[in-house]
């Protein structure tokens, strides 16, 4: 992976994060990247159905805010939050099973790939309606406030989703009631084929916060340290009852909107430019510069992660789909059977 070297060697103190945190962030970045690239490959091989939304290039924007959250804190994701799923601690085998729609997926194969969810770790299995989880996620934060809990919610969405009415209603409500929620906008410059400037009349999507009376900030979303620290501050604010923050992370998706999109609406130079700022390489270089990482360690890590992924994939490929009749389950609570017809 290419990377830009940083001139003066930084110190841990300057960074302001512990060695453990830095390694933790890095491990999750690497794992996310490797899993994501694996899924792309498996999809091209036709090993699972549906489609796949890669988040390669955007890992820092999802790993950064999620790292360090409590189990009871909630992630309200959209479709490009594999990094949050990995970092929040959904077991790898569940993530893979979800992609494969197998019976061992927490959703039993009911919903489509990239819609990870695991209640135990406070990760909402999303609807595909963009910004849908901005609304329900804000509702979770409202619930925490009513229950007087000090948990927080992180709602992720793309810049494109901020054009939705539900997004506005939710964020406006959070502003009135100072809800414990952090809104993370992954601004990857494109909503499918539509560029950001056709999505809004503003340059920085964090300006949207001005309409709601709480802080909005725009940062380099490929700098995992900056993302993590900015989010950590917002999380603390939220836990202290000081209300929401909107964090816009400028980032970039390297590949198509989904794996069937050739993404030929983008200029080649734009892609090359952004690849230079690869968030994983940047983190790696930082760790190398700090002397807390070596290329040998990296190799070991890669090997270990690969093995974990291999195992999870093998396990899921062996699994079955749920029986057709599973379609009748999970409609209502027990006392309300579904109307059935025998055709």
């Amino acid at each position: 992976m290419p990377a830009t070297k940083i001139a003066a060697k930084p110190s841990l103190k300057q960074i302001g994060l512990s060695k453990e945190t830095l390694l933790g962030l890095y491990t999750n970045l690497l794992k996310t990247r490797m899993l994501d690239e694996r899924f792309r490959k498996l999809f091209r091989q036709g090993r699972f159905a549906g489609t796949y939304f890669s988040a390669v290039g955007q890992e820092a924007t999802t790993v950064g805010p999620t790292y360090g959250l409590r189990d009871e804190d909630i992630i309200a994701p959209s479709h490009r939050e594999i990094g949050a799923a990995v970092t929040k601690g959904i077991p790898l085998v569940h993530i893979v099973a979800q992609i494969y729609a197998r019976i061992n997926s927490p959703d039993k194969g009911k919903t489509h790939p990239c819609h990870y969810g695991w209640r135990e770790k406070g990760f909402i299995s999303p609807s595909s309606t963009l910004a849908g989880q901005t609304v329900t996620g804000t509702g979770c934060a409202m619930g925490f406030q009513i229950q007087k809990k000090d948990n927080v919610v992180i709602a992720f969405f793309g810049e494109g989703a901020t054009a939705r009415g539900g997004w506005h209603e939710a964020v406006n409500y959070a502003g009135i009631h100072k809800l414990p929620i952090i809104y993370v906008c992954q601004n990857n410059l494109w909503a499918e084929s539509v560029p950001a400037h056709r999505q809004a009349g503003i340059k920085d999507f964090s300006d949207r916060a001005k309409a709601y009376g709480f802080p909005g900030i725009t940062i380099d979303g490929n700098d995992v340290v900056l993302v993590h620290k900015t989010a950590a501050k917002a999380i603390e604010r939220a836990r202290n009852g000081e209300g929401p923050t909107l964090i816009e992370c400028k980032t970039y998706r390297w590949y198509g909107h989904s794996e069937i999109d050739p993404a030929d609406y983008r200029r080649e130079e734009e892609i090359i430019e952004w690849k230079k700022g690869d968030p994983i390489a940047r983190a790696e270089n930082l760790l190398l510069d700090l002397g807390i990482h070596t290329s040998k360690k990296r190799e070991a890590m890669v090997e270990q992660i690969n093995q974990e992924i291999d195992e999870a994939v093998a396990a899921c490929e062996k699994e079955k789909y749920a029986e057709p009749e599973e379609a009748y389950n999970d409609v209502y609570s027990e006392n309300f059977p579904v109307r059935r017809d025998d055709y």
């Binding site: 979770c140 209603e169 409500y173």
Partner: protein
């Protein structure tokens, strides 16, 4: 004993359930300080405070969708939509989130919430303050839909909805708020979701309806009684999942059916009821299952003569019953 109106029954129930279970909270427009535009939530802010009786901004998407989120973390939200006419913006959250949450998460998450929706015509509300739109929710598995016609049912169904584990659309017909009154038991009681009520027994024909139309149906049945027609009158109470058994039992007895619905005919709930009866009870039928419905026009027009022309009433029902009887 004191008689309780339908709206008082609702207010009482909200008090009792909020008292009983501190996971229950309310959110909606003008429900706090103002006590609701029809006063259904009067006194609740004083009693339970602004954290459990939340005056929301004009945000129907959030009122519904935020409640889904609150339900996910363990609360029992009772969002209010001020008029059914304004539930269209909530559709996305109700259909794509509330109704599908349990399903899409493989049962991991559930959505126990009760959306109170004030609805219905015959109140001079015009195009935008008379709608019901129950058919949209009726056709969405994962939701439950109820519409009480009596104070007893208003209380009993609301309790069941609040205590249940599923998202419920609870329709309150504004025409009935202060019109129907009855004595209610002191003790706690519930009315199960999914069970219709045979309100009047009869041998000749079955009239099925719900909400305000139940009252028009019983008026018609009483008038018909005098003309020698013995009509059985069923109040569905729950629209989804609807009680096929009770209706089918009645059809077995009478072999003739008239279905009454306030909303426009095409695509309404009674189309399904009729289709199901035909499909499953064909042998018992002695005459075509017939419907008396609101007109097939965009909504209830405002001017009184047009509004009355739109709505089914006892005379129209009686005429159709007689036509079916003569079949």
């Amino acid at each position: 004993m004191k008689k309780t109106t339908l709206i008082e029954a609702i207010t009482q129930t909200l008090f009792e359930e909020m008292e009983r279970d501190d996971r229950v909270f309310l959110i909606g427009q003008d429900i706090g300080l103002y006590g609701g535009v029809f006063k259904a939530t009067k006194g609740l802010l004083d009693r339970f405070g602004p954290e459990r009786v939340i005056d929301s901004p004009i945000s129907e998407v959030y009122i519904a969708g935020g409640s889904v989120g609150a339900a996910m973390v363990g609360l029992r939200p009772i969002p209010e939509i001020q008029f059914a006419d304004f539930i269209t913006p909530s559709m996305d959250q109700i259909i794509q989130q509330a109704a599908k949450l349990r399903y899409r998460t493989g049962g991991q998450w559930t959505c126990p919430m009760t959306i109170r929706v004030c609805c219905g015509g015959d109140v001079g509300g015009g195009l935008y303050h008379s709608q019901i739109n129950e058919q949209w929710f009726f056709s969405q598995p994962g939701l439950q839909v109820v519409m009480p016609a009596t104070p007893y049912d208003a209380k009993g169904l609301l309790k069941s909805a609040i205590r249940g584990e599923d998202p419920v659309i609870y329709f309150e017909h504004k025409r009935l708020y202060r019109w129907v009154k009855e004595e209610l038991p002191e003790d706690d009681f519930t009315v199960p979701i999914g069970k219709a009520a045979v309100r009047k027994e009869g041998d000749d024909i079955t009239i099925v309806s719900y909400g305000f139309m139940y009252h028009r149906s019983i008026e018609a049945a009483q008038a018909l009684e005098k003309e020698g027609v013995s009509a059985e009158v069923i109040d569905m109470r729950t629209i989804s999942p609807w009680d096929r058994e009770t209706i089918y039992e009645s059809v077995k007895k009478t072999s003739k059916v008239v279905l009454v619905q306030e909303s426009s005919k095409t695509g309404g709930v009674m189309g399904e009821v009729s289709a199901s009866i035909t499909e499953e009870m064909f042998d018992y039928l002695d005459a075509p299952v017939s419907r008396v419905c609101g007109l097939d026009v965009p909504a209830i027009p405002f001017a009184p003569p047009m509004e009355h022309f739109f709505l089914p009433n006892a005379e129209k029902i009686a005429r159709v019953v007689k036509k079916v009887m003569e079949y």
